[in-house]
């Protein structure tokens, strides 16, 4: 029998933190630019989840409004980022993020 467990805000916050850590770790350890990109998206959406959870708990509409801003920024970022990645991969097929380091000091 499945115990009826109440899903509290904490669950959402824990999930958000896990997703954020996952994304952050992925960004740090992976080399494939597309995967790294997806990790960034994961982090953004983890933050979104946290926003929404807090917004609901506190009854503050501000949390949900912030999510819209993050979504817009993420959309814009995707446009620029994907374009860059496509351009890089077209020139150097199979390039990793470490290959794009000509601006090193």
């Amino acid at each position: 029998m499945i115990a009826l467990v109440e899903v509290t805000t904490t669950w959402y916050l824990v999930l958000g933190a896990m997703l954020f850590s996952l994304g952050g770790t992925g960004l740090l350890i992976r080399r494939n630019p597309l995967v790294m990109f997806m990790c960034v998206e994961l982090m953004l959406n983890a933050v979104n989840l946290t926003f929404v959870a807090f917004g609901r708990q506190l009854g503050d509409l501000g949390g949900q409004v912030s999510v819209f801003f993050v979504l817009v920024v993420a959309a814009a970022e995707v446009v620029v980022g994907l374009a860059l990645i496509v351009a890089v991969l077209r020139r150097h097929p199979g390039a990793t993020a470490d290959d794009v380091s000509v601006l090193k000091g």
């Binding site: 740090l28 080399r31 790294m36 993020a97 794009v100 380091s101 000509v102 601006l103 090193k104 000091g105």
Partner: protein
């Protein structure tokens, strides 16, 4: 009409710009006439402003026109503005008046020169800067004009720059003037520190309450500047060499206008001089009389017609500094004005002679020119009588006033001034007799010349009307300018009353009785006549063999000594300074740069270019911030 003052310098400036842009297209003689016309316009504008000033009461004769704010920097506010008062108007009147005549003269003198338009452009630019100098209402605007006339002087001395000596002479004038300009600059710094403003009105009204040391420093440093510009001992060496330029330039710049700038500056700040320690006026008076005597002794042995006049200019400027040092500012400016007339006349006359003699400048090859150049000779003789101090010509009145004030100050100064007057009469008479009287030596070989060398036959001729008309006008002025300030006019001395508002802060009143003044005047007439009589005996009648020692012909070897000092220990000192600059100063600057560069070399390795390392850094930063927020702020 006082608002028209901006027009006075604007017209010559317009002339310069026009001639710079279109000069070659306008060509000869259009460029000369354009420049002369604009100078005439500037003179007319000056007369209009002058009349406007005369209309006002003596107490209200100071009008400031501010054109625009120039330097609003912190506590320093400098406007480009003009100060119209009796002093600046007197200067502006003779600068534009004599300047216009010299422009007209130059149309004839520079005929056929390939750089005709450039000459007139520079001449107009010079007059513009000179007017800025005298009209400026603060030290910085005056300094702007001061440097500007220096620049034009350099350009015009080395006008025929294709010949090495001319270029060297220009450089010499420029460098010598720089030494004096140092004094002017530092004086400005002191003025700003002490008064908080560079305006003459602020400086002069604060002079009485200023600390004596401050006033002394400002007065002394401004005098250093004046020594350079007005060719006094020890910075006079550039002026004789400046004769390398075209003769009208010598007349305008090195006799009538630019060299008077130092005297003008001294008169302008006369309340500061009055507030300074006594040694400053004494120093000025002694330097003045020393310069006058030294230059007069050198002039006695010169054979170049222009060199005689050059040393005579230095000598006459020495008189004006003697007057300034004795607190006789009116007499100083009076002599500046009369000197502008008769020295411009003499220089233009010598130019006419040089022109007629086909560029021959050595007086030993002249003589008897009065027969072929009657107008030049007649006007030159008027100038000669004026400078020699023969009444009623202008020079007598101004020189006599200076000598009276010098006697009041110290009889020793007067005695040296009197000896100078004797020498002045002597060397000017010598010049007149060698050039215009005696027998013609036009084609004689000079001592040292090869007698068999074929020479061009010289047939002297009178100059065209453009050159003789200025001579005639100036000779009239040199003859009658004395009526400006006749000594026996009592309270009706026009020039003294006119300048009263400007010089009341520093003018020293004459304490001599009337009969003493007459006695001094008789003494100066006496020495003038003795000087002329000596010259008659030696150079006209040939009763006595001339004494022209080598040491005087070489100007006491001052030039040679300076050259030796500068070439020897001077150059070593400069090399040492340069080495110090290279090793210590440059070392400090380059060392700082090297340290920063080395640090940067290490630091740039932080930028790896790997996205992951940046991301890691951001992560650490975020964690650090979080730790800070959790542990510090939320508690």
């Amino acid at each position: 009409m006082l608002e028209l003052v901006w027009l006075i310098p604007a017209l010559p400036l317009a002339g310069f710009l026009l001639l710079m842009l279109l000069g070659r297209r306008i060509g000869e003689p259009g460029a000369g006439w354009l420049a002369t016309l604009l100078m005439g316009g500037a003179f007319a504008a000056t007369v209009a402003v002058h009349l406007g000033l005369v209309d006002r009461g003596p107490e209200e004769r100071a009008f400031t026109q501010t054109l625009f704010e120039w330097l609003p920097v912190g506590g320093l506010h400098v406007d480009v503005g003009f100060l119209v008062d009796p002093l600046s108007m007197t200067m502006a009147l003779f600068i534009t008046g004599v300047g216009a005549l010299i422009h007209l003269y130059s149309v004839g003198y520079m005929h056929g020169d390939r750089d005709f338009a450039r000459y007139f452009a520079l001449l107009n630019l010079f007059v513009f800067f000179m007017l800025v100098l005298v009209l400026g209402d603060n030290l910085l605007v005056t300094f702007l004009g001061w440097e500007g006339v220096g620049l034009c002087s350099y350009q015009l001395i080395s006008f025929w720059f294709a010949e090495m000596p001319n270029a060297v002479a220009g450089k010499k004038a420029f460098v010598t003037n720089r030494i004096g300009d140092w004094g002017f600059l530092v004086a400005m710094f002191f003025t700003f520190t002490a008064v908080g403003s560079l305006n003459y009105i602020d400086l002069n009204s604060n002079a009485a309450t200023m600390a004596t040391t401050t006033a002394t420093a400002i007065a002394f440093l401004l005098f250093v500047g004046a020594v350079g510009k007005s060719a006094q001992v020890p910075l006079f060496v550039w002026l004789p060499d400046a004769m390398a330029g075209p003769t009208p330039v010598s007349a305008l710049i090195h006799a009538a206008t630019m060299v008077t700038a130092g005297v003008f500056l001294m008169i302008r700040v006369n309340p500061v001089l009055a507030a300074s320690s006594d040694w400053v006026p004494d120093l000025i008076a002694w330097i003045g009389v020393g310069t006058a005597l030294l230059a007069a002794t050198i002039a006695v042995s010169q054979n170049d017609i222009k060199k005689v006049l050059a040393y005579s200019t230095i000598s006459q400027l020495g008189y004006t500094f003697l007057a300034v040092g004795s607190g006789a500012y009116v007499a100083a400016l009076f002599h500046v004005v009369t000197h502008a007339f008769f020295k411009a006349l003499l220089f233009l006359g010598s130019g006419s002679v040089i022109h007629g003699m086909h560029d021959e400048q050595d007086m030993r090859r002249m003589g008897a020119l009065r027969k072929v150049m009657p107008i030049t000779a007649a006007t030159f003789i008027v100038g000669w009588l004026a400078i020699a101090g023969v009444p009623p010509f202008a020079g007598f009145w101004s020189k006599d006033e200076i000598l009276a004030h010098a006697f009041d100050n110290s009889p020793a100064l007067w005695l040296l001034g009197l000896v100078t007057a004797l020498l002045t009469a002597f060397y000017m008479s010598r010049q007149v007799f060698m050039v215009f009287f005696g027998e013609a030596r036009w084609n004689d070989p000079l001592p040292g010349d090869d007698p068999d060398e074929p020479r061009e036959e010289i047939h002297p001729h009178e100059s065209p009307w453009t050159m003789t008309v200025p001579l005639i006008v100036l000779s009239v002025l040199a003859a009658v300018a004395g009526i400006l300030n006749l000594p026996f006019a009592g309270d009706n001395k026009a020039f003294e009353n006119w300048l009263e508002p400007v010089v009341q802060g520093g003018q020293v009143e004459l304490t001599l009785s009337g009969s003493d003044q007459v006695a001094l005047a008789i003494a100066s007439i006496g020495v003038a006549l003795i000087g002329i009589a000596l010259a008659v005996a030696i150079y006209l009648r040939k009763r006595v063999k001339p004494v022209e020692p080598e040491i005087l012909a070489h100007g006491w070897y001052i030039d040679e000594t300076i050259a030796r000092v500068v070439d020897g220990p001077g150059e070593a000192a400069f090399e040492g300074t340069a080495a110090f600059d290279r090793v210590v100063i440059d070392g400090a600057v380059n060392g700082t740069g090297a340290v920063v560069k080395g640090f940067g070399e290490r630091l740039r390795l932080v930028q790896t270019g790997y996205v992951r390392s940046y991301a890691l850094a951001i992560t650490f930063g975020a964690v650090a911030l979080m730790v800070y927020v959790v542990t510090r702020i939320s508690r």
